[in-house]
Amino acid sequence: MTSFASSKTSGPSFGRIFITSAVVIAVVALVLLLALNDPRSPETLLSIFATRFLGILIEALPFLVLGTLVSGLIEAFIRQEDVLRLLPKNRYLATIGGAFMGLIFPVCECGVVPVARRLFTKGLPVSVGVAFLLAAPFMNPIVFASTYIAFGFGPIFIMRFVVTAVVAISVGLLFALNRQPETLLQPSSWQKEVLHTGPRRGLREGLQYTLAIASNEFFEMGRYLYVGCLLAATMQTFVPQEALLAIGNGPVLSVLVMQLLAFILSICSTVDSFFVLAFVNTFTTGSVVSFLSFGPMVDIKSTMMFTGVFRRRTVLYLVLLPFVMNLFAGVLINALGITF
């Protein structure tokens, strides 16, 4: 992981531009290939694509805007002492606490990223932020309520809670072993210098500052969200979820399929319980729990947004570790034969 420290760049390098354009060209070529082989006309495909893209985006937009405003408010009004005072001194305890920070900042996966990024610049340790990032989209009053309405306070609710907490805290603790944020975060998400603390801003000045920060943050985080929506809409236009579901039987495969579905669909965590209700009869309990615990942590949208905060290798860990842990949890639930 230390090799990353040497490769940090402040501006776009030639290699980075090359890789980005290669990826863009590959994606465009793949989409063209899929479109040419599709029996539906290009106009129809474009119309379906537009509806899917706008749908995912319009649903996420309020959370993005609220997330950027909270981020602006944090930047304007929260100082180092505040973070220091509220944070347990022990970094491992703090990481465990981070998993439950969503109870204070009720955010879903689109809003949590700008908030976490801003807290990193305020000195929040990466491990705490990671636990917050992974857990908060479920660990907040709004999603508790929607899960309760869909499933009641039963095994699904409890297992979703336990699996989310265990995975988020475990991944957070793994990151706590690394004490160099510069090897994990993008340069813009943390500051090298230790800065003196100034007085708290006045309300008027602070709010003006909030607007200035938030209007830039909207684009900074928005571009990742928009590209994520673009990818999710493309996948949904061409890859039928029914095809995915058709292969999904068995205690292991069903979990894999539901996790893949959660990743592709990028359904907001506030409503994913209602969506998955349709699958409770046909899918294993473990796969439903994995869908509900993995989906809020990682999906196409949030992965794209992670790349704006973390270095690429960190993003890889942030996707793979929760994937493997949730897979394990889901298979374990199936193996133990827990039903509801």
């Binding site: 474009l46 537009a50 509806t51 893209f53 706008l54 749908g55 995912i56 985006l57 319009i58 649903e59 937009l61 309020p62 959370f63 805007v65 609220l66 929260i78 100082r79 180092q80 973070v83 220091l84 001194k89 610049t121 305020k122 000195g123 340790p125 499933f151 009641g152 813009s188 943390w190 500051q191 800065l195 603390t197 100034g198 500052y209 607007l211 200035a212 920060i213 209007s215 909207f218 684009f219 900074e220 928009y226 673009l230 999710a232 236009t237 039928p240 979820q241 029914e242 095809a243 669909l265 990028s266 359904i267 907001c268 409503v271 994913d272 209602f274 969506f275 209700l277 349709a278 009869n281």
Partner: protein, 257 residues
């Protein structure tokens, strides 16, 4: 543990290009106005479940928020002040601005809900196990395609519904393995937005089926009879229509769940 204080980062004002500031203000205002237009025309129902109160108030809330962000940016562009955006704010890039114009461009296309063309891989005709639904309380002639599938799920044994009257609307959907007189009357169901939308349907056997246009909206009255629809299917309730008439697309194309 080490805590770094980044709060009062040296207040270096970043000079953003003037045209970037104009574009930024335009995109923010444009996105806010686009949301407002969708809400006022009702077209927002093509994308998200507006029957859900929280989605509705969040969609309304985003309009004034985006307009104030855009208005503030415009004010600062026209009347620049020595802004104190800290240096850790990475520069507003042209790429980000261009990406964020995407919904405004795609929004120019005619707004359409998902229809028969968007069914990609099949329509769900299996009973739905929605625990919170109370489909039994709805009179049979008022039940939608979604209510019927829930009712099948609630009852478990659909044969008790033999002879029940059905009165539903939906779009015509066919698959290759269906006979000439077979089709499905289908709807998209949605709990939040089109990301979670999927097609559900009831099977129909009707002599006049070949005359019905694929994807066209129809109003169907008839009775239920449990039988085998396609080879290999489990026995399921099939509509035997007494009336099939083409109809307009309903105001809300989706069935919200």
């Amino acid at each position: 543990m080490e805590i770094r204080d980044y709060t009062q980062q040296a207040n270096i004002g970043i000079k953003q290009n003037s045209w970037q500031n104009w574009l930024k203000s335009l995109v923010l205002l444009g996105t806010g106005l686009y949301m407002l237009v969708l809400l006022l025309t009702g077209n927002i129902g093509h994308y998200v479940n507006v029957a859900n109160p929280s989605i509705q108030w969040l969609s309304w809330l985003v309009v004034p928020l985006l307009l104030s962000l855009g208005g503030w940016s415009l004010w600062r562009t026209v009347k620049p002040a020595p802004t104190t955006i800290p240096a850790n704010q990475s520069r507003l890039t042209t790429t980000a601005l261009v990406i964020c114009t995407l919904p405004l461009i795609l929004g120019l296309l005619p707004s359409r809900p998902l229809g028969a063309d968007a069914v990609n891989g099949g329509v769900n005709i299996a009973p739905l196990g929605l625990t919170s639904a109370s489909s039994g309380d709805i009179a049979p002639e008022d039940r939608t395609v979604l209510d019927w599938l829930r009712e099948f799920g609630r009852l478990g044994d659909p044969t008790v519904l033999n002879g029940e009257t059905v009165d539903v609307i939906g779009f015509v959907y066919r698959e290759l393995d269906m006979a000439d007189d077979q089709f499905m009357v289908a709807r998209f169901t949605m709990s939040c937005c089109v990301a979670d939308a999927y097609a559900i349907g009831l099977p129909v056997i009707y002599d006049g089926a070949p005359d019905l246009a694929e994807g066209g909206w129809v109003h169907i009255q008839g009775t239920l009879q449990v039988g085998t629809f396609r080879p290999g299917d489990d026995p399921l309730p099939i509509i035997l229509p007494t009336l099939v008439e083409p109809t307009e697309e309903p105001d809300t194309a989706y069935l919200y769940s």
